[in-house]
Every structure is written in C-alpha cells, then in structure tokens.
C-alpha cells in the first residue's frame, strides 16, 4: 500500500501548529502531540517502505507537475535515512515516557519532531530551494534544542552551544543558498533531477564555486573537519536526546545533501575525480581528527560527540570511494551509527545523571552492579560502534576495507586501521569503567521506558547484524541511485 510521501511533512507541521493551541487548554494533552506526530510519520514511512524496493516513491504538490511545482522524490537512500531519523526521534521521545521531562518538556518534544521533519524533508525533496527551507527548519529546531539545558547544568554551557550553532548554522545555510543561486543561474531550474539533466551546459567555474559553497555549507551541518568546531560546543552543553538528534538526524541530513549534490549534479558537471577526491580525503581527515579528539576527551558527552564527528568522516570517505562496496559500507555504517549512538548517549546520560556540567568517565564506574541492564546494553552499543560482529557496523567496515582495498586506496586502508584502533582504545576505556566495581557503588536503576527502548535498539543491532540480507536489494538500488545519475533523473522527472 502506497501513501503520499508528502504526509511525512504535512503530519508533523500540522502537529506543530496544534501544540501551542492545545497548550492553552491542557499541557498534559499537548505533550503527547509530537509523539503522535512522529508515530504518524512512522506509519507513513512503514507503508511506503516496501515500494522503495521498486525505486522512488514520488509525489507532486499543488497540482503543478515538476519542474513547475515542488516534487517529493523519496528515493531508496532518502527513504532509508528518513526511516532511521524517525526511528531515532521516537527512541528519544519514548525513552522519556513516564520520566521527568526536564524543563520545557512540551517545547523539547516539539523541537525533536521539527528537527526530524526538517531532516526528513531534506532527504525526500526533489527541489533544491525546498531543501534549503528544510535545512533552515532543521537549524532553527536545532538551536532551540541546543539551548535547553540538562537537568543539573547551571553553567550556561547550553547557551554557548546554542549561540555558536545559531551563527555558524546560519552562515552554513546562506552559503548553501548562494550555491543554489549559482546553480539556478546556470541551469534555470530548481528541480534537482532536471538540474542533473542539464549539467552538460554548466560552466566548470560556476560548478566549482557552487561546490565550494555547498561543501562549506553542508560540511558544517555534517560536522566535517575543519568545519566542526561548533558541534563540540553543542554536544558538551545539551541533553542526551539533543546530542542524539544532532549526530543522527541533523548531521546525516547535511551529509545526504552534500552527497546528493556532489554525486548527481556537481560531480558530473566538473569532469574528472576532483569532487570525489576532495570528499574522500576530507572524510579521512575528519575520521582521524574525530577519533583522536575523542581519545583525549575526559567528558563523555564530548567523547561521544567527537566519535560522531569521526563517523561522519568515515561515512563521507566510504561513499566517496565511488564503488558499490563503498556505498554498501556507507549505508550499513549509517544504520549501525543510528542504532548504537542514541543507545550510548541515553545510557551514558543515565549513569552520569548526578553530575552537573561535564560527565567524567568515572561516572560509569561499577555500572554493571549499579544498573546491570543499562551496563549490558551500553556494552553492546560500544561493541557495535567499534564494529564487532554481529552488528551493521561490522558489515559496513567489512565492505569499507574491501572497497578501499579493491580500489587500491592503501593510504585510506592505513587511516581506517589507525582510526579503528584509536576508537577501540577510548571506547574500551568505557567498558573497563563499566565493569570496574568498587565498594561504594550505589544502585542506580534504569527507568522502565529507557530500558525498553534500549532493549529495542540492542535487538535491532543483533537482528540487522545477523540478517543483513533483507537490506541487500534496497542497498543495490542506493548504489544505482548514487553512482548512476540517470537513475535519479528518471525517478525525479515524474
């Protein structure tokens, strides 16, 4: 059964309008609306997911056929990412059910939904200016989320993160818009598929300038080195749910947009491997930077934040190898990261909930006795993030090494080995602390909702790790979508 994918935008927008109106009468009802909105989005993507195995699910808006109207082109890659983003947002909100919401619980859950809407919009839209609008929705929701402090934080770290992201995110968005303006000037269209079909007429200088602007703009959102200074400020001062949304929704949407434009439009316009080489080595540098910075971090929020930055580098490098194995690796690494990172953030926040400001590693000490279920789930999350089998990240790294080796990218193979060793080093320290039981260990029971959601994430890690087969066909379509621009053009010109 296919439902109109535009509902992925309509449902949360309608829910967001209902929240303040309902709050006038009952805050108790209003706080459930974002969750219902996200469940509605999950239902839509669930019903459409089967159709992604046949290609893109498309829709037009306002009765205008593209390129005159805005079109929705939910490709297999976009659909997979949208499903993951909605899943992470549900994980964040459902983990808080029955617990303390912290201050401004209604605003918080609404912004989680809106950041997800922006991210989903970016990955399913077929119109470039529409992508900019969704980028702004994501940024604005991200600033509000970053401004919300953790329960015990009294240092204003949240405001620092919010202020820095507001300025840097604003610059990023408008550099992207400048790139869009140049591409529109060169192709006279905003429809991405039509733009891709006209790259033959594009001047290489214009394409190169647009690429530079979008590389900086989307690179800031995707936390690529050296454009990621803001990200650590946000991770350091925000709630675990906010950190999860930044690392798996906002950043992934930025990465998707960068890949979409580089693979489909700008890459073919600039002849040669220039675009792919920049992304490949920029990604590799980000990976090393992120992992090295995480290794030296003493605050766990920053450690996991830098780890996410490293993963963004790894993903960029994987896709930019430009082969089937590279894309396979990228998709599986995204799935692995989306499952493991929110799990780690939530369990780490639970263990460190009595700390104000930074949360040191010793907050995990003796967790296996104080909170056995949380400790075991966190250990599974850590091992899954490193790439131990059976986990999606294991398969991702397998294809990544295979892809880099078969392309004879030996320097990249070396960087991957070094990065993985560093990653195992600092994440291993977390496991060491979890099992380091001391006499003064106090009980710290895991809230039921957080425990259930953690168990769901662990189950999904094992399920996809043991049986990645059902994803095979859709990943093959993602390979065609990214490596053969004509495939996307056929889907996009409805």
């Amino acid at each position: 059964m296919t439902v109109d994918p535009v509902l992925l935008i309509v449902i949360p927008l309608a829910a967001a309008f209902l929240v303040p109106l309902t709050s006038l009468f009952s805050k108790a009802i209003a706080r459930w609306i974002p969750l219902l909105g996200l469940l509605g989005m999950a239902l839509v993507i669930g019903l459409d997911f089967g159709d992604l195995y046949d290609g893109a699910v498309t829709s037009t808006t306002g009765g205008f056929d593209p390129p005159w109207g805005i079109s929705i082109v939910m490709t297999p890659f976009g659909g997979l990412l949208a499903a993951g983003m909605i899943g992470v947002a549900l994980y964040v909100l459902l983990s808080g059910v029955g617990g303390r919401d912290g201050k401004n619980g209604v605003v918080y859950s609404t912004m989680v939904m809106m950041a997800t809407t922006g991210g989903v919009g970016m990955v399913i839209t077929g119109d470039l200016f529409n992508m900019f609008v969704f980028l702004e929705i994501t940024s604005i929701a991200g600033v509000v989320l970053a401004a919300m402090p953790r329960d015990n934080d009294r240092k204003g770290l949240n405001w620092r993160g919010a202020a820095v992201y507001a300025v840097v995110g604003g610059v990023a968005s408008f550099l992207v818009l400048a790139g869009i303006g140049l591409l529109y000037g060169a192709t006279s269209t905003l429809n991405i598929a039509q733009m891709a079909s006209r790259v033959g007429d594009m001047d290489a200088f214009v394409a190169g300038t647009a690429f530079l602007l979008m590389l900086i703009g989307f690179g800031i959102e995707a936390e690529l080195f050296p454009l990621n200074g803001w990200a650590v400020e946000v991770y350091r001062g925000s709630r675990w749910g906010t950190s999860s949304i930044f690392s798996t929704v906002i950043g992934k949407a930025g990465l998707f947009a960068l890949l979409r434009m580089s693979f489909i439009v700008i890459g073919p316009a600039i002849k040669g491997d220039f675009v792919m080489d920049i992304l490949l080595w920029g990604g590799a540098a980000t990976y090393l930077f992120g992992e090295a910075a995480a290794f030296t971090s003493r605050d766990m929020y920053r450690m996991l934040g830098y780890s996410s930055i490293g993963v963004f580098g790894l993903l960029t490098a994987s896709f930019s190898i430009g082969t089937g194995d590279g894309v396979r690796a990228g998709v599986l690494l995204i799935i692995g990261h989306m499952l493991a990172k929110p799990l780690l953030f939530s369990m780490m926040a639970h263990a460190g909930r009595r700390y104000s400001g930074d949360v040191p590693l010793k907050a995990l000490r003796g967790m296996i006795r104080s909170s056995p279920a949380g400790a075991l789930m966190m250990t599974v999350g850590i091992l899954a993030l490193i790439g131990m089998p059976p986990s999606p990240t294991f398969w991702g790294k397998y294809f990544l090494f295979s892809g880099a080796g078969s392309s004879e990218q030996w320097v990249l193979v070396g960087i991957l080995v070094v990065g993985t060793v560093i990653e195992a080093g600092y994440l291993g320290r977390l496991i060491f602390n979890i099992f380091d039981v001391r006499k003064d260990t106090r009980e710290n029971g895991l809230p039921l909702a957080r425990g259930i959601m953690g168990a769901v994430a662990v189950f999904m890690i094992f399920l996809i790790g043991v049986m990645p087969g059902p994803l095979h066909d859709i990943i093959e379509l993602v390979i065609r979508e990214l490596l053969q621009p004509l495939t996307y053009i056929r889907w996009g010109v409805i």
């Binding site: 509000v144 204003g156 949240n158 405001w159 303006g181 700390y355 400001g357 930074d358």
Partner: protein, 129 residues
C-alpha cells in the same frame, strides 16, 4: 561582464567578505550576528543578480502603476525574487533566534565575549538530591 553585472557581483563579493570576516574575527556575539546578517544580505543580492536581465522591468504582469505594465517577455526572471522573499523571512527568524541565544549566553555568563568563557573546573561532585 557589463557594468551592471560588475556592480552587482563586486558588491556581493565585498559584502560576503565583510560578513565572513566579521563572523570569523569578532569575539563579540552581537558583532558575529551582524556579520551573519551581512552575509544574508549578500546572498539575497546574489539571487536578485542571477535573475536580473538588463533593460527589463519588475516581474508584475498588468496593473496600472506603470511599473508592471510590461508583457511577460519584458520582465526579469521572477523566480529568484520569490526565493529572496522567502530567504528574507527565514533570515529574520534566524537572526532573531541567534539574538535570543546571545541574550541567554549573556544572562548566564555576564559577557558577550565567546573567548572569555570559562568552562571552570570539571564538576565531579555528585549533586545531592
């Protein structure tokens, strides 16, 4: 590149350079936000410049004002102008939100200077409930 385009694109480059310089070099949050606003203006000007066609009028078809009495073929490209309208609204929201964040930062730290922020000692004492 004719005279009009030179003025347009020269102005855009100058504004963009000033804005980026302000964001990168100013320690004061308000000045950084002003830099952001200048960048937004530069990009809006770029969009208008992309759709500009020398000698044509505003893209308002019909009307008695004299401005928009040209036939469809005699107007500049209307799409970038519609984009600019949207971008202006969005930039208003982003600037306002950035200022709210700056106020929050000031209230907690007593300064607008990003570099003088002190993280303080890592607080390892548990907060007694």
């Amino acid at each position: 590149m004719n005279g009009h385009e030179l003025v347009f694109y020269g102005g855009i480059m100058a504004l963009l350079a000033v804005g980026i310089w302000a964001v990168l070099s100013r320690r004061n949050l308000i000045k950084a936000i002003m830099g952001l606003a200048i960048i937004e203006t530069a990009v809006n000007l770029l969009l208008v410049a992309v759709g500009y066609v020398s000698g044509r009028s505003a893209p308002i078809v019909g009307g008695d004002t004299g401005i928009g009495s040209s036939p469809v073929g005699g107007v500049v490209d209307p799409v970038p102008q519609a984009l600019v309208l949207t971008a202006i609204v969005i930039s208003l929201a982003t600037t306002a939100l950035a200022l709210v964040a700056a106020i929050g930062y000031y209230k907690h730290t007593g300064t607008l200077d990003l570099k003088s922020f002190s993280y303080g000692r890592t607080d390892e004492k548990e907060v007694r409930k």
